[in-house]
């Protein structure tokens, strides 16, 4: 088992390498030019002379493979370079955005997972009951509206009409609330939006796999032994229904770092989604590569986590 884990861990290195190589190549192959975007930034400035001079100064006139090797060498030394658009260190820019994205995505993830699994288990246990219907309909409703629509409706209701919660940002500029309350208020709407959107997949997968494991023989055996229904549900049925859920966790961990461009834009949330999207539009390669690399690391880490948990909950694999 440990050898398996170690092997997966070592495999992450070539995977990262391939991701960085592919991303760099595709990015350079796509039309658009960061120097042109920069020189034309805001409205219009510079001439071709300016473009060529700046391109040369920044080393962007070298062949692509030379640029890639330079990038790789610097990255291996821990230097992600400077943003072409803002001339600030990429590591610093990412460090500023990361906490906002991780906290927002993380809270939403934990919230939707716990609620979703809970609802899934209960509605499977009470299949076709009123509770099953009401709860699944509600969960589905949350997932059936586009996220940006939910977000804007929440803003209109709770910020504009009722004035209870702020329209966006992570904290207020001036407030009489304590900092903790202030942060909490800012998190409510985006967290609610993101949780509503992802709730249903947890409910669905949990309900489906729970129904499946309720059909299994060990559950019948447990019931036949006269164990309490609670114990049967939790210890026998639920534990075994977690296998497909575990893969979902891996994906969600992967999402933590990427952020959500749309939600971040609507709530003026200073996160990775906006950072990546802006870098993309400006063809800001160093920032793009930094964001890509970081999310790739998180995804690989998420997969590893999924594998590990999979092994832990699946006794057959654990033993072999």
């Amino acid at each position: 088992m440990y050898r398996l884990i170690l092997r997966r861990f070592l495999l992450a290195i070539p995977t990262l390498f391939v991701v960085s190589f592919l991303s760099f190549g595709i990015m350079k192959a796509a039309p658009g030019d960061p120097v042109r975007m920069y020189v034309a930034g805001g409205m219009s400035k510079g001439s071709v002379e300016d473009i060529e001079r700046i391109r040369h100064n920044l080393g962007l006139d070298r062949p692509i493979y030379v640029q890639y090797i330079a990038w790789l060498r610097n990255t291996l030394r821990g230097d992600l370079g400077y943003s072409l658009a803002t001339r600030r260190p990429v590591a610093q820019i990412i460090a500023e955005k990361l906490p906002a994205s991780i906290s927002l995505m993380g809270i939403s993830f934990l919230l939707s997972m716990t609620i979703g699994i809970g609802i899934g288990v209960l509605s499977a246990a009470k299949q076709y009951s009123l509770f099953d219907y009401v709860v699944t309909v509600l969960a589905f409703l949350g997932n059936s509206l586009p996220a940006f629509w939910i977000a804007l409706m929440l803003i209109w209701l709770f910020s504009v009409r009722l004035g209870w919660l702020p329209t966006g940002h992570m904290s207020s500029y001036e407030t009489t609330d304590s900092p903790i309350l202030d942060y909490a208020k800012h998190y409510v709407l985006p967290v609610t939006t993101l949780s509503l959107v992802s709730l249903v997949s947890w409910v669905r997968y949990q309900r489906a796999s729970m129904l499946e494991s309720l059909q299994q023989d060990y559950v019948r055996t447990a019931r036949a032994k006269g164990l309490a229904e609670r114990v049967v549900l939790i210890r026998h049925a639920w534990r075994n229904s977690l296998v497909p859920i575990v893969t979902l966790i891996g994906f969600s961990v992967a999402n933590l770092v990427g952020g959500s461009y749309i939600i971040e834009t609507i709530f003026s949330w200073p996160g990775m989604g906006q950072l990546g999207f802006d870098a993309l539009l400006k063809r800001d390669y160093p920032v793009m590569m930094g964001v890509t690399l970081l999310s790739a690391i998180f995804i690989i880490f998420g997969n590893l986590l999924a594998d590990l948990t999979y092994i832990l909950v699946n006794p057959q694999i654990r033993e072999s």
Partner: protein
């Protein structure tokens, strides 16, 4: 006891697929929510197909007179008119074609590729499994917006590009789910039994495992259709969706949001259409899941 159950489902699968479908349909019909949803989807698809016949106006015809633009819903314009005076009802009808076909085609692509890759990985095992799963890892490691940009810039932007983008970026998790299910079923007793009888790996996968993975695939497929419709609307929201002057429900919603205050009807109708369609797909999927589950026959 264990052997009895596995053998019974084994038997049912082998000899009575016909009656299984019949039984499933009977059970599906009992699920009222699913039946209502299915009828709704059939109706919606019919309306989309017949859009040129049903639509009262040319969906792209503009009317810039003060009496033409931003008219609230009336008997003449059921869904009102937009900022260029186009009839929102006709646009929604034509939009249904785009939204629904994006949903079906993109998710169809995702499912086919996902099932093939997932099943191949699980059945073949060894280095094939490793290679395919690494491919999935790598593709999943590239941020979605990055893939979208590449597709938008390399391919000519069109609704087909949007379908391809959504399909190409959503098969990976299907592949993983299918692989996971395959792996856990491979250790199931009736499969062991089939192995003992000397069936080949491909045959086991096709005849014994795949039908049992069907419910996972169906859950995933319906989710995918619903999700693809939502993804298309999100792409339209950031300006990477359908190309003007065509409309999808998502792009109508996105345009409408800028007029939320003075023409709220432009958001009501596409919003309602998206949500009931997505809901309906979810309910149908759920109904199918329950109805098709072979283990509930016992």
């Amino acid at each position: 006891m264990e052997t009895t159950r596995s053998q019974s489902s084994y038997f049912v699968l082998r000899s009575a697929q016909q009656s299984l479908l019949k039984l499933s349909w009977l059970r599906f019909r009992r699920n009222r929510l699913a039946i209502i949803s299915l009828s709704l989807l059939v109706l919606m698809s019919a309306a989309a197909l017949l859009a040129p016949q049903i639509a009262p106006y040319d969906p792209n015809a503009i009317d810039l007179t003060p009496e033409g633009i931003l008219q609230p819903p009336s008997s003449q314009h059921l869904f009102g008119t937009d900022e260029l005076g186009r009839d929102a009802f006709s646009r929604a009808l034509f939009g249904a074609r785009i939204s629904l076909s994006v949903g079906f085609i993109a998710s169809g692509m995702a499912i086919v590729v996902g099932v093939l890759v997932g099943a191949t990985a699980a059945v073949a095992g060894g280095w094939v499994d490793n290679l395919l799963m690494r491919l999935v890892d790598i593709l999943l490691s590239v941020p979605l917006f990055f893939l979208i940009m590449i597709s938008q810039t390399i391919m000519t932007p069109s609704i087909f590009t949007v379908m391809a983008i959504i399909g190409a970026t959503s098969w990976m998790d299907v592949a993983r789910l299918v692989r996971g299910d395959f792996l856990s079923l491979q250790s199931a007793d009736y499969v062991t039994a089939a192995v003992v009888t000397g069936a080949t790996r491909t045959r086991i996968a096709r005849r014994h495992i795949l039908p049992n993975v069907a419910n996972t695939i169906i859950v995933a497929a319906t989710l995918r259709v619903a999700q693809a419709i939502l993804t298309e609307s999100a792409l339209s929201f950031v300006g990477l969706g359908v190309q003007p002057p065509d409309a999808s429900w998502g792009s109508m919603l996105q345009k409408g949001l800028t007029r939320l205050l003075d023409a709220p009807w432009l958001v009501w109708f596409p919003g309602i259409l998206i949500s009931i369609t997505v809901l309906a797909f979810n309910f149908v999927g759920d109904g199918l899941r329950d109805a098709l589950d072979p283990r509930q026959l016992a």
